[in-house]
């Protein structure tokens, strides 16, 4: 089983690239993202450049594809190599954009991914003011999963002055990133 794994993943990636059917794309992407949960697959996924594939999918119009790609990134971004790769590839920006998705899973995965991607070097980017502001709003959400994650983000990854600044800002401007639908 172990021997065929790379080949199998390769076949999935190929299928993803070749197929015209949206549905097949979604299924394959979901499979790849689920594979990304297990660290033993990371090496293969890197070889097959699945990280790039996930990052590319973040800018798709199809919300399901975005959700699955975001889930995949969330699954593999704790690994150091993967983390550096995503940061190098300017992955933070599309991930931040996912915060404004109307899909609950996408948003939740994006928040978690941002936490996992925060390093001393990337901190300025992942905890930029608009993000902190967004987290402030999420932390008030009725959705416990989302508000828990947002609270952790604010408490563990942001400095009190940062939060304070965002709080002041959000007082003045009513427009922000909308909450996910539900």
């Amino acid at each position: 089983m172990e021997l065929g794994r790379l080949e199998y993943l390769q076949a999935l990636v190929t299928e993803f690239q070749v197929t015209d059917s949206t549905e097949a794309k979604e299924q394959v992407l979901a499979n790849l993202a689920n594979f990304a949960y297990d660290p033993s697959n990371y090496e293969y996924l890197r070889q097959l450049q699945v990280l790039d594939l996930f990052l590319d999918m973040l800018t798709e119009d199809n919300e399901t594809l975005v959700e699955f790609a975001m889930g995949g990134l969330c699954n593999l971004c704790l690994d150091k190599t993967n983390k550096e790769y995503i940061l190098e590839a300017n992955g933070v920006e599309p991930i931040i954009n996912c915060l404004s998705s109307s899909n609950e899973e996408t948003v939740v995965s994006a928040v978690t991914t941002l936490m996992f991607l925060t390093t001393p070097r990337s901190r300025a980017q992942t905890t930029a003011l608009p993000v902190v502001e967004c987290m402030l709003r999420f932390s008030l959400s009725a959705n416990t999963r989302l508000s828990n994650l947002a609270s952790i983000f604010l408490q563990d990854y942001c400095s009190p002055p940062q939060v304070e600044e965002a709080r002041n800002l959000s007082k003045h401007t009513a427009v922000g990133i909308p909450l996910p639908k539900d």
Partner: protein
């Protein structure tokens, strides 16, 4: 996403009406479909290879679906309804799904995850269809069959891909299905799985130590229920959720496990299990977590990945070095520190090791390998020098001496440590394992015959010191932690014995030919 799959036999008619389902897609698989759906619903099924797709139904058009399977079609047929994420509206807006005279209302629990709610909807759909026996032949519309499909579908996407055939074999209701589909239908069924899968990406956010148990019969069986779940791990907390919407005569319970892994296993084992005559529906309930619990969950995942990827790093290192080594040298990586379940037991061969009573267990080394290292010292040393860079605390400089027969090289001991963190990923066919064990045992025996008497500070004849027993804990995470603890113990014991000699070399790359002095 809400989905429903079931099979139709000859002359089965299924009818259901769904209100306020904003996006509804129906899929039918099997032989050419002869449903008379268009008359009632206004949509004609479109052909898509083996499956038929019907276009989305407009919002609030209250579709009534009637499917009729013709007697002449002797293939497996089924259809599948699903609504996209918008089906969430169906749940939250206390809309109702109407079948016959029955009205059912859905209420959303505040903060419930989509997943939980969808499961509820899903089972409700099953339920309503179950109620419509008068429209369908009783042989087909068994609830267990319908739910079984979901089990099949869900387990396929859970944690990566599995071939449907494997899931198929695992399915408890297999006999029932076999009687139900003949061989020709079986193939169709397997094909249809690909169409029917409810896709979901699992992330750490979806998992939780909290699990929600739905469908518990209201018979005052809480004690039995909790006992059943406690089989899978320590339970920290449990209670009934009175407010939670439940089917008639059933209760919903919330159980909080001490460990996520236990919850994972419990969910896997107990979901769709029959309990006092009712099917349990078990799902994670991350919405009940507190901030602190969510934080711990994320931290645990972080630790797990850090540990797992370190293993991989070691693994990578080995792979690079692989070609340099002789085949026999490879054997030491095949040491009994693999954390994966059964391989501990199969790998563990005490006869490979001799213990030195003067120092600690840590000085035990595979005696067979010592001979090997003498045969090919340059490779071996080079190899260990690189590895020891990873284990700086264990490395130390000693004058390079000619390796006497009975001077166990330090590297041997290190090698025992290195694989401790890489065992998982290494693949070895079982036959190789067996051969290796045999070889080691033979060499070990040989060695103890020729070499032991010369220097008894190194090698001991007679019964071995008791090693810390290795037990397969039957659980990957338990094994991992057990191995970790064992290693730590060894490390501590070792550092006591060697702390005098190792101070300055902690960061520098050790020189070649380092030897351990005992």
């Amino acid at each position: 996403m809400v989905g429903l799959v079931f099979n139709l036999l000859e002359e089965d008619l299924v009818s259901l009406s769904i209100q306020n389902l904003s996006v509804l897609k129906t899929y039918a698989v099997g032989s050419p479909w002869r449903g008379d759906s268009s008359e009632h619903t206004g949509f004609a099924p479109g052909n898509c290879g083996n499956c038929f797709l019907t276009p989305c139904v407009e919002k609030s058009s209250f579709p009534h679906l009637h499917f009729f399977a013709n007697e002449e079609d002797r293939f497996f047929r089924g259809f599948f309804l699903y609504s996209d994420s918008t089906s969430y509206e169906l749940v939250t807006s206390t809309s109702c799904m109407e079948v016959g005279q029955r009205h059912k209302r859905f209420y959303s629990a505040p903060g419930s995850s989509t997943l939980t709610l969808c499961r509820k909807v899903k089972f409700h759909l099953c339920f309503t269809i179950h109620e419509r026996h008068e429209f369908s032949s009783c042989s087909v519309m068994k609830r267990s069959q319908i739910t079984m499909h979901f089990t099949v579908l869900q387990s396929r996407v859970h944690r990566g891909f599995q071939h449907p055939e494997r899931i198929w074999r695992k399915t408890e209701n297999m006999e029932k299905m076999c009687a139900f589909c003949n061989k020709a239908r079986m193939g169709m069924f397997l094909n249809s799985l690909f169409v029917f899968c409810l896709f979901q990406v699992y992330t750490i956010n979806l998992e939780s130590r909290y699990i929600l148990i739905q469908g518990v019969p209201a018979l005052g069986v809480m004690k039995e229920l909790v006992e059943q779940f406690a089989l899978y791990g320590a339970i920290e907390e449990y209670h009934a959720l009175d407010e939670y919407p439940a089917e008639q005569f059933t209760e919903v319970y919330l159980v909080k496990f001490k460990k996520l892994q236990c919850a994972r296993v419990a969910k896997k084992k107990m979901d769709e299990r029959s309990f006092f005559g009712s099917l349990l529906h078990v799902c994670y309930a991350p919405e009940f977590e507190t901030v602190q619990e969510t934080r711990e969950k994320l931290q645990d995942r972080r630790k797990y990945i850090a540990k797992a990827t370190n293993q991989r790093d070691c693994f990578m290192l080995k792979k690079v070095e692989g070609p340099k080594k002789t085949a026999s040298n490879n054997s030491e990586h095949d040491c009994p520190w693999s954390t994966s379940g059964s391989s501990i037991a199969s790998n563990w061969d005490p006869s490979c090791f001799t213990s030195s009573p003067g120092v600690s267990h840590n000085t035990a080394y595979p005696s067979g390998n010592q001979n090997q290292s003498l045969l090919s010292p340059p490779h071996y040393d080079n190899n260990c020098a690189e590895i020891s860079g990873y284990l700086a605390q264990n490395t130390f400089l000693t004058p390079s001496v000619h390796p006497g027969v009975c001077t166990p090289p330090a590297s041997l001991m290190q090698h025992r440590k290195v694989p401790a963190c890489n065992g998982i990923d290494r693949f070895m066919p079982r036959t190789t394992h067996l051969q290796e064990r045999k070889r080691k045992r033979e060499e070990g025996n040989k060695f103890s015959l020729i070499g032991t008497s010369e220097d008894n500070t190194e090698v001991v004849i007679g019964p071995q010191l008791p090693e810390i027993p290795k037990v397969d804990m039957d659980d990957e995470s338990l094994n991992t932690s057990a191995t970790l603890i064992r290693n730590k113990l060894k490390e501590v014991a070792d550092s006591v014995s060697t702390s005098v000699e190792k101070p300055e070399s902690s960061s520098a790359k050790p020189v070649v030919k380092q030897r351990r002095r005992i």
